[in-house]
């Protein structure tokens, strides 16, 4: 071969072509398409003739941003993030610290148990929760045996949100736990030993050593969980379909509904508003967690 490095480059491109093809069509072009369509009035009838749509420029965005249903879904999604993310992370961190604290018995069993929800199919999990949280289901009959009447978990607008968040937290804790555990295991033990000899209390060791050294893991988990809760769709869709009274309708669910009703342009504009928020928050989180 005369020019081995050129042949190598050709081979390399041949090797990445399948990935790049799928990426270009289903990510790059899709994202562009969504942006362009946000400025049009494309409806369900136009899907088969996507080039013949009328541009209405910012009209779709104005319509979406003044739509009470959309604004409510933004608020609901914010609630999901503000409650769900810290809750999931706190429980995940507590479990990781528990697993990493020198216990030896049953460690593998605990870890497998915490990890199981993550691999559980969400549809199956939601079906199980729906049954467990019906008015006279296992949860309420357990509460009744304790002498308290359980609420209408999924039917009461005030209770539906906490119930949906519980399922989301249950599903995501395992991811946080695994990542925090990996972070904890990378902290050298002699740092703790030295602090102990210097007379640092357990709480002081936690705040002065564990938390700062856990920062990379925390950063990763925060970003992952924020994105995951901002995109929340499966849990509310499956448990409540966004109800009762739209109390659990996230932005993703709103977008899906608009799409289902044939309002393609608003769906795309809504998803782009969401994308913008995700990007801004992502950048902010990276900044905040790095600078400190």
């Amino acid at each position: 071969m005369q020019q081995p490095s050129r042949w190598r480059a050709t081979t390399a491109w041949l090797f990445v072509v399948p990935f790049m093809t799928i990426f270009v069509v289903f990510t790059a072009v899709s994202a562009m398409l969504a942006l362009i369509y946000s400025f049009t009035d494309v409806g369900v009838a136009d899907i088969r003739r996507p080039l013949e749509v009328d541009f209405v420029w910012l009209q779709t965005f104005t319509r979406v941003l003044t739509n009470p249903g959309f604004l409510k879904s933004v608020w609901t999604t914010a609630l999901f993030v503000v409650i769900g993310v810290p809750l999931t992370m706190a429980i995940g961190l507590a479990l990781a610290i528990g697993l990493n604290s020198g216990i030896t018995k049953l460690r593998a069993v605990y870890r497998a148990a915490f990890y199981l929800p993550f691999i559980t199919n969400i549809v199956a999990a939601a079906v199980i929760w729906q049954y467990a949280f019906t008015l006279s289901g296992p949860v309420n009959s357990f509460l009744a045996s304790l002498g308290t009447a359980g609420p209408n978990w999924l039917g009461d607008p005030r209770m539906a949100m906490p119930t949906v968040i519980m399922l989301a937290v249950w599903r995501n804790v395992g991811t946080c736990m695994v990542l925090f555990l990996a972070g904890l295991q990378s902290i050298p033990l002699d740092v703790y030993e030295a602090a102990r000899i210097d007379g640092a209390t357990a709480w002081r060791r936690f705040t002065a050593i564990t938390l700062p050294l856990l920062k990379p893991a925390t950063l990763l988990v925060t970003v992952l969980m924020t994105v995951s809760f901002m995109n929340i769709f499966d849990e509310p869709y499956l448990l409540t379909k966004g109800g009762p009274l739209s109390s659990t309708k996230s932005v993703a669910l709103w977008v899906y509904e608009q799409f289902g009703q044939g309002n393609i342009a608003p769906a795309m504009a809504g998803s782009y508003v969401m994308l913008a928020i995700v990007v801004i928050l992502g950048v902010l989180q990276l900044r905040l967690l790095r600078v400190r």
Binding site: A12, R48, I128, T134, L275
Partner: protein, 276 residues
């Protein structure tokens, strides 16, 4: 580390046990209902154990009257196809990114990262429009296509490929081996564990894939298991809990069995990259 105080140890075990019970509770709940007839559930919805665990009527109904056999076949087909394409294409791309210098490799890697970060909410509507243009609506091909090469697989393979020593590949090159021979004969046998990890993550993702299958495969013939179960749980017969819980067990089983045998790779996959 010196041994913690016994009281602390007891509290730790308490914490972990409570966590484990909560994590496992739904698996108990599902066993309560899946073996009960509708009459048994209606009589005492909150009752604990079923009268007997050998009542398989719900499972039989699912497969004989509710097309769960078809859904199962569809799901298996989708998962098998995605695992094969992902393992092959992700390994090729990961190898190229880690071991072959080529103009544009930074761009390609940027695309991998971008693909992992773009929120799916922003993509499913235009993806549907593209699938309509391709004339693939309501086909299993459409279910597979967008996840035929997942960025996470490329990312994992690139990380693993990095750890393969360059000297091995160079030596083969000096011996006159072609680029394809090097990839198939020398590189592939060295990255078995990485391939296992990618295969498992791909299987998990495609088996649990919900929103896209729900949108793109809308006739009953092309439902995957999760879609079939979701539709059943939201239809007019949404209170037939015995059947639905039996369906949940059918959906859960394959992944649970895999998890029991291959736990190590599951945890590796997620811990090594931090992304689902």
């Amino acid at each position: 580390m010196s041994k913690p105080h016994p009281l602390v140890t007891a509290m730790l075990y308490g914490l972990l046990t409570i966590g484990a019970v909560i994590a496992l509770l739904p698996f108990v709940w599902v066993l309560l209902g899946a073996f009960k007839s509708q009459a048994e559930i209606m009589a005492a919805p909150g009752a604990w154990l079923p009268r007997n665990f050998t009542n398989l009527a719900n499972f039989l109904t699912l497969f004989t009257e509710r097309m769960f056999g078809r859904y199962m076949a569809n799901s298996l087909l989708v998962s098998a196809a995605t695992v094969i394409t992902n393992v092959l294409f992700a390994t090729m791309a990961g190898y190229a990114l880690a071991k072959l210098e080529f103009p544009g490799h930074k761009l390609v890697f940027g695309c991998v990262l971008a693909a992992m970060m773009v929120p799916y909410v922003a993509l499913f509507v235009p993806q549907f429009v593209i699938i309509v243009q391709m004339g693939l609506v309501n086909t299993l091909t459409a279910v597979v296509l967008p996840i035929a090469v997942m960025p996470i697989g490329v990312f994992i393979m690139r990380q693993f490929a990095d750890s393969v020593p360059d000297e091995l590949l160079e030596a083969a090159r000096l011996d006159g081996a072609g680029e394809f021979t090097i990839f198939f004969r020398i590189f592939l046998p060295l990255v078995g564990p990485a391939i296992a990890t990618v295969a498992i993550i791909t299987f998990l993702n495609s088996w649990n894939y919900f929103l896209w299958s729900l949108i793109v495969a809308q006739n009953q013939e092309t439902y995957t298991l999760p879609v079939g179960l979701a539709v059943a749980s939201q239809g007019a017969r949404s209170t037939e809990y015995g059947l639905l819980l039996a369906g949940a067990i059918v959906v859960l089983m394959p992944v649970l069995i895999l998890f029991l045998f291959l736990q190590k790779y599951f945890v590796q996959g997620i811990a090594g990259t931090g992304i689902k």
